[in-house]
Amino acid sequence: MSAVNWLAVGGQVAVTILGAAGVTELIKAVASRRTRKIDNVDRLSDIAIEQVEAIKKDAREARDEARSARQEAAGARREMHEIRQSAEEISRYLYQVLSWIHDPQMTIERLRAVVPPPGTNGGTPSGAPPLGRRVQPPPTLW
């Protein structure tokens, strides 16, 4: 076999080896592209599920916080209502006491009779009626 023939064989062997390697790489690229798409979809699904779980947890916590905030707000409204009622009663009672004091027919004895001392007749040490109890003026005065 001549040198040229050897070269021809060598060249053809190189073409075969490198060509086969290239075709193999090409097939692997196409095949891995398909599987990579599936992997990516799986990975995206996992990420989506994780994010959904996290969002659910956040939403649950937010709901709990909103519920407790609503409860606190309702309690505060109730207390506010009671305080307003008490203030109105105290205001009315004070107005009555002032009316008794400035009544020309009022004497100190009668005033003592209509304004109970602290701690008696349902009164409080400060002289104010107990909360929630409406004080009516004595009918004999008006």
Binding site: G10, A14, V15, T16, L18, E25, A29, R33
Partner: protein, 138 residues
């Protein structure tokens, strides 16, 4: 990615920026088409190969050129583009090796310029293919 890559970011240019490579792929398409369509082959190839082998060589050049250009200008996944480009480089390196052996086999030392250029083309293709392979494995 390895620790050295993280410390020193390794920037890989995609095939579309390797102008020599793109030019050789385009030339591969041209010369492959020419030989497949019946253009008279070079005397060195004729001296080494039969007519149908020359046609086969033309087909290999055409396929590698088309695949290489496809990989070089692929707009989708960079990994897939590099894989395709590497495959085309290997196929083309095989075809150019055959041309190199034909040039040196027929012309001997007189084919130093043409054979040297085709040998350099082959080596460049193989180095680039190895580079792509290493990057894809990192």
């Amino acid at each position: 990615m390895s620790e050295s890559h993280q410390r020193h970011p390794h920037i890989i240019a995609t095939g579309r920026y390797c102008y020599h490579e793109v030019a050789f792929f385009a030339f591969g398409v041209f010369i492959g088409l020419a030989y497949v369509l019946g253009s008279p082959p070079s005397t060195s190839l004729i001296a080494l190969l039969t007519t149908w082998q020359v046609r086969g060589w033309g087909i290999i050049m055409l396929v590698s050129g088309v695949v290489g250009l496809l990989g070089a200008f692929w707009r989708g996944s960079l990994r897939f583009a590099l894989q395709v480009e590497g495959a085309a480089l290997l196929i083309q390196a095989g075809a150019i090796t055959l041309l190199t052996t034909a040039l040196f086999g027929v012309g001997g030392a007189r084919a130093l310029t043409a054979g040297g250029i085709s040998a350099a083309w082959t080596i460049a293709n193989l180095l680039r293919a190895g580079h792509i392979r290493r990057f894809l494995r990192s």
